[in-house]
């Protein structure tokens, strides 16, 4: 019975992926991509990886889909210069994609059986970190360097978006509010954020011991902030505002500071002193959650559209 469900899920995923690629109308393709992210999340749940499932649904489906929709809306009606792709160009793209898919498929099919795993090792080393969720231990203790670089990449993406602003609005506020805010939207923006903030903080807090964590919590918080900004209840901040930049850089900066502290107090870069691992990890996660939330919300809000306040 579950095999039937899994096969249906796989067929659905493949069909939807083909639709996203083949669909000519960009908006329909993006909406299908959003649904694809949700289904992929279900797939990860079936593989017993709830942490990945939540990240996939929040970032891969929700946030990325929203970014694409905003980009599509910005380009719509601007008279895209459609340069038809040459046959050779199309062929090159198709060959590149086929090579990657074939290579991945080959790698998966040639896995030793049973596949090599670091799972038991990750569980054995869990005690000194004081954490209960091995995924969080991997992200913030064993492979903390990867996580640090990941968060810096999000900031780099934000700098890329911000640098699209023309000179006269540089440092000003983005514009996310529609000309006319529908009443149901402003009602939702008043009712939902209190719940959303509680859920976001909860997701961050249980991340130490159960599925959850910075990226998932940050996405929920970012969504709540965007809702408030889109309903016009509170204007988006100037991108040059020191408080905003402090929150954005705060997470990675604290992470880096604690990493360097490892030279003095522990064995080296990114090593936590004995007995202080859990409080340090929770402090880093708290700062990172706020940074991720601010960065994602500002990414969706887009480049500055209004002149900065003097």
């Amino acid at each position: 019975m579950t095999l039937l469900l899994d096969l249906a899920l796989v067929a659905w995923l493949l069909g939807l992926a083909a639709y996203v690629v083949a669909e000519r109308d960009e908006r329909s393709a993006i909406i299908a991509f959003l649904a694809f992210g949700l289904l992929l999340g279900l797939g990860w749940v079936r593989l017993a990886a709830p942490d990945v499932a939540m990240t996939e649904i929040a970032i891969g489906g929700g946030a990325t889909g929203l970014l694409l929709l905003r980009a599509e809306a910005a380009l719509r009606g601007r008279g895209k210069h459609e340069e038809a792709m040459t046959r050779a160009g199309k062929l090159a793209v198709a060959l590149g994609c086929a090579a990657i898919s074939g290579g991945l498929g080959y790698a998966v099919l040639t896995f030793a059986s049973p596949p090599p795993t670091l799972g038991p090792a990750a569980l054995d080393a869990l005690d000194p970190t004081g954490l209960g969720n091995p995924v969080t231990a991997v992200l913030l203790a064993y492979r903390a360097l990867d996580t640090l670089l990941e968060k810096v990449v999000v900031l780099l993406a934000l700098i890329g978006v911000w640098s699209l602003a023309p000179d006269q609005t540089w440092g000003g506020a983005p514009d996310v509010k529609p000309a006319l805010v529908p009443e149901p939207l402003s009602w939702l923006a008043r009712v939902l954020p209190p719940f959303g903030v509680v859920i976001g903080v909860y997701m961050f807090w249980v991340g130490a011991d159960a599925p959850g964590g910075t990226f998932q919590a940050g996405t929920v918080l970012a969504a709540m902030w965007l809702l408030v900004m889109m309903a016009g209840l509170y204007p988006p901040p100037d991108t040059a505002r020191p408080a905003l930049r402090f929150v954005l850089a705060g997470g990675p900066a604290l992470f880096l500071a604690i990493a360097f502290l490892g030279f003095v107090a522990a064995d080296g870069f990114l090593a936590y002193p004995d007995g202080f691992a859990k409080p340090l990890i929770v402090a880093i996660e708290a700062a990172l959650t706020l940074s991720v939330a601010a960065a994602l919300a500002m990414l969706v809000a887009g480049p500055a559209r209004k002149a900065p306040a003097p």
Partner: protein
């Protein structure tokens, strides 16, 4: 006791699934956006509600059950708002041309 709980779950979840199927049929077969919206919002609210009530006897803790109810309430809140926004957009498009 668990036998009764299982029967309650099976009956209510089956009823919820039936509502979802009906809503999906309406979404596919109804002629205009407003009636399609009508069909799918019934499935969303009542169908999900029945499934959540059906799953409550299976909850292992009180907080687990409360989380299920929260999921239902939040889904209702967002579905109702989204329906209103879509219906407004349809209404505006009709009035304009």
């Amino acid at each position: 006791m668990s036998g009764v709980a299982d029967i309650v779950t099976i009956v209510l979840v089956a009823a919820g699934v039936l509502l979802f199927v009906a809503g999906m049929l309406g979404l596919l077969r109804f002629p205009d956006p407003l009636s399609r919206l009508h069909a799918i919002s019934k499935a969303d609210n009542l169908g999900l509600g029945l499934i959540v009530i059906g799953l409550l006897p299976q909850a292992t803790s009180i907080t687990g059950g409360l989380k299920l109810i929260c999921v239902w309430l939040l889904a209702q809140l967002s579905a109702a708002t989204a329906s209103q926004l879509l219906a407004r957009a349809v209404h505006r498009d009709r009035a304009e041309p």
